[in-house]
Symmetry: C2
Subunit: 158 residues, 2 copies
């Protein structure tokens, strides 16, 4: 396999639209995790850092492409603040599922992200994401893991 | 945020060692998902395609960096066969958890991968992974999602 030269960035991919679900596990709780995703999206789209961070706690990890893992509120808020300043995202949920016990769930799908390069040119990245959600004692959902990577090979001659 | 020029490849990151666990959810089932990871690693390290694929079914998705999603046995076996031919991996589990109902779990941690570039030079990539596991009717675990991305920014002047 040849190495690939890829133009990427530290993308913060967050949440999911309440679109067509293809649940892989029977559960009455799928609507809950999908609603949480939708609410996280709403907060993200508004670039409301406080509301976006309300879905994270000290156990949360965001796993960005081409950057280290960010775990806990302090690390994640830095990542999100940078993202709000530099990126626009759209996304589409493809799959969602919740354990029978309703305390652990996942969502996954695709994203499109646009950002400016160093000279102001708009670049577009397309990829996929996987989010693992944990239900809290009060019935709300928080993010355990949010991960994404690019579909684009971005080959260059080598 | 500046765009980043990143040398990457289609990495197939698979499984996890039975190392130090820091479970985030109380469950008696964490050992099960860790054992499954360890068994998947054993199959992968042996480059045994049949045994590796035994952890996947038509619902499984592998989400490689810089390549499209691979869902189902046909797509995944192609990805794994390419990986066996071109890559060496080590990995280390950092976190694992299982839902109270024991039917859904996750593992996450870090990897180091080496591969040859087009002129035979050995390159090293470091990154992180997130795997979601689904327990089967027979008590075994199979992969729902396996995702990974690089930690390396691989900046180039721009």
């Amino acid at each position: 396999m040849r190495p690939r030269q890829h133009i990427s960035t530290v993308m913060v991919f967050l949440v999911l639209t309440p679109s067509v679900a293809r649940p892989q596990m029977k559960s009455v709780g799928i609507d809950g995790v999908r609603t949480a995703d939708s609410a996280w999206l709403k907060a993200y789209a508004a670039k409301d850092l406080d509301k976006t961070m309300a879905f994270c706690d000290e156990q949360s990890s965001v796993l960005p492409s081409n950057a280290p893992l960010a775990t806990g509120k302090k690390a994640i808020v830095k990542l999100f603040a940078e993202a709000f300043a530099s990126q626009d995202l759209t996304w589409h949920i493809d799959k969602a599922g919740v354990a029978r016990s309703g305390d652990l769930g996942y969502t996954s799908g695709s994203y499109v992200m646009t950002f400016k390069d160093a000279i102001g040119k708009t670049l577009t990245d397309k990829g996929k994401y996987l989010t693992v959600w944990k239900k809290q004692a009060d019935g709300s959902w928080k993010v355990l893991f949010d991960m994404f990577n690019s579909d684009l090979p971005s080959f260059s001659p080598s």
